[in-house]
């Protein structure tokens, strides 16, 4: 399908993100990339679980253990923000299907705002831990915690920069077959970040507080 075709909601293809060869390659390639991200996070989770609550012999477990540190309300608020942002990116994709460019931009924008909210809470959380003495070099446990949750946070930052620059670059261009796959995989990435967070919430926060 030619990239320069003028599209209307009527001739806009059903799967715009896969309508060109490049789009299809991106689509397949990105799923494969996510598979490798899964392994990356699996390794970090395994490391975290192996080092949970483990520190120098003198470490004060009443102060610096998973049970003592984590606060579920905060983690829950973060979860809600990120889950909602995943939903808003679904709306954006829904509008893309209907060739409603304004809808795409608006909902992607809301996604970014929710993502920034999540990031602020995470930064607050990290700041709080460092403030009470649980810094990155405090113990093997602290290193593992910050590395796992921080890697996720870094993914959020990358996602935000990515989606923002997409919104910005396409403002004038409108929707076409060249940037439809870009929006699509960005939203795919955002869902992935969300799924990883669900695991972090379960394995790190819930299991930390409960077990």
């Amino acid at each position: 399908m030619d990239l320069n075709t003028k599209f209307t909601p009527q001739n806009w293809p059903e799967h715009a993100e896969q309508a060109t060869m490049e789009g299809k390659n991106k689509f397949v390639g990105f799923w494969i990339f996510l598979a490798c991200e899964v392994v990356l996070f699996a390794s970090l989770f395994a490391t975290y679980l192996a080092l949970k609550d483990s520190g120098p012999a003198s470490m004060d477990l009443t102060k610096y253990s998973a049970k003592a540190l984590y606060e579920l309300p905060l983690a829950f608020a973060m979860t809600m923000l990120l889950l909602t942002s995943s939903l808003t990116s679904v709306y954006a994709m829904y509008h893309m299907k209907n060739f409603n460019f304004k809808g795409v931009q608006t909902w992607m924008g809301i996604t970014v705002i929710l993502g920034i909210g999540f990031l602020c809470l995470e930064i607050y959380e990290f700041y709080h831990y460092v403030h009470i003495g649980f810094g990155y070099t405090h113990s093997a446990y602290s290193s593992a915690f910050f590395t796992l949750v921080g890697t996720h946070g870094l993914h959020v930052i990358i996602g935000l920069v990515w989606i923002s620059s997409l919104i910005f670059r396409n403002m004038k261009r409108g929707l076409n077959l060249y940037n439809a796959p870009k929006y699509f995989i960005a939203s795919l990435y955002w869902h992935f970040i969300d799924v990883v967070w669900v695991f972090i919430f379960t394995v790190v926060y819930l299991m930390g507080v409960l077990g």
């Binding site: 390659n25 598979a35 483990s54 113990s139 093997a140 290193s143 060249y178």
Partner: protein, 646 residues
Amino acid sequence: MSSVAQKKGFGAQVWDYLTTVDHKKIAILYLAAGTLFFAIAGLEALFMRFQLLFPENTFVSAGMFNQLLTMHGTTMLFLAATPLLFAFMNAIVPLQIGARDVAFPFLNALGFWLFFLGAVFLHLSFFLGGAPDAGWTSYASLSLYSPGHGIDFYVLGLQISGAGTLISGINFIVTIITMRAPGMTFMRMPLFTWTSLVSSTLILFAFPPLTVGLFLMLVDRMFGANFFEHTMGGNTIIWEHLFWIFGHPEVYILVLPAFGLFSEIIPVFARKRLFGYSSMVFATILIGFLGFMVWAHHMFTTGLGATANAIFAVATMTIAVPTGMKVFNWILTIWGGSIKVTVPMLYALGFIPSFVAGGVTGVMQAAAPLDYQLHDSYFIVAHFHYVIVGGIVTALFGAAHFYWPIMFNRALNEKLGVLTFWIFFIGFHLTFFLQHFLGLMGMPRRVFTYMPDQGWDLFNMISTIGAAMMGVGVILLVLNVLLSIKSEPLNRRDYWGDGRSLEWALETPLPFYNFKQTPLVRGYDPYWIEKQEGNKEGMVYAEPLGDIHMPNNSILPLIMSIGTFIAAFGALYSPWGKQALAGTAESVSPALSVGLIVVGLGITVGSMITRSLKDDLGYHVHVAEVEAIEKDLAQFRAAGKKGGNN
């Protein structure tokens, strides 16, 4: 737009290679870089063997020896074998599946430049205070306490080049899934394409654990984290697991494409269809799968307990079954064929017994209680060199002779090739066969010297002589390559006369778009089918002649890689590292360290954003231009001599 007649200046040529996204040129870049690092690592091996020529030799110091053994292993696996295989994968896979390029030409270039700059970064260690010295496995407690910046170079260099490898792996997977010509179903794909696919999938799953391991080591050494610092609650066994979850599949990442190359070479020179194609495919997938289930057999003596050892022992042994299937299939391909012994075939024939010998010692080491004796002795050194040299290096040398006509439109000299083979092959067995016995006689690996009268003197000396012969063999091969530059161009298709898969249907030199029309694949061994049916053109087409869409060249991959290179220096000279704090490693001010990281990553991210903001739609080669290029090429071929040995 004539691609042949046009003569470019030297500067334009260099710029062309720095910005290229053409898989054939990237293949040449991989080949050149891989050869360079192969030579460096080979030289390191020779230095080590000369040190071990006599007991208590003082050719190199103890510390230097550890640097040599680390760099030899690291370079050979990450920076020589991998890029050399990538060279052939890049050059051949798109041709075999009838594609005009890979799925992501830009990422292909990025993968190369990341690999190359990571490798250069690692090698700078020799000039900046000493190379890494904790073995290519870089086991945690030793690597954590290693003074200086050696290990930092290892961690950062591999991190960068590993990212490149991962990107290339993803690229190959997508290429093979989406870019196949019409009719090229999965079960018609040549074995080299199949093994490239499985090997790339292994890269996909094996490299992230390495990335994580290296990152943990990086923050431990450079930013004061405590993952492996046992006094701070860390655990060194985590490194062993992460490293071997990557490290074991790495062996299959390398050996599967080697199997693939032999599966291409043997049928051509046996003039016979590959025996048991579907079981070969099945065995490839099975080996790839099992390769992930067995990493802990490197850790039998770590103390994981009897049950873990028992499970991993049995799992490891099962790999022998699909591997055996492959060996028998190769032999049955030869059986009943018409064997022509050319240089590539000679390598293939030498490969079978050598690799079987390396495989069976692998089964011996899979027997956990026996491995308690063999582990970390010279026996294991002999074993993995039988697999790597006997399996992978022979494949690379054979493939170089085999595919040289397609890649360079020149042939390597057969007589010199035969001489090279025998010198290298005999030298190889001389070097490594006796090392099995050295191990059984109690010689540990990675020793910089040994005392006399332990019964090891003679075998060590013979081993060193063999290593020198291997060195001579490699020099002869390089000589052969240099001679080929001066030789006559071939200007023809199907150089070996019995080509079977699609890449042989193309006339050399190839136009930059490979196929002027996408071919239609009518069965397994498509070119063989067309030849048998008397089709002079070598293929039938799936589309009429039309405009060809090609990607634009770009300098951004190189700039992005340079960004990571700069950032790596910032991390390396971090003032927060354990060695820096202890005063055993140089460091810079916090501002400079962070500054370099920010600037470096800024360049990389900035390039990514630039790439994203700009529309890069590629360009079209119009029908008239295609016809003109084809005409030019035809004239060039007709005017030139038909070189080669046949």
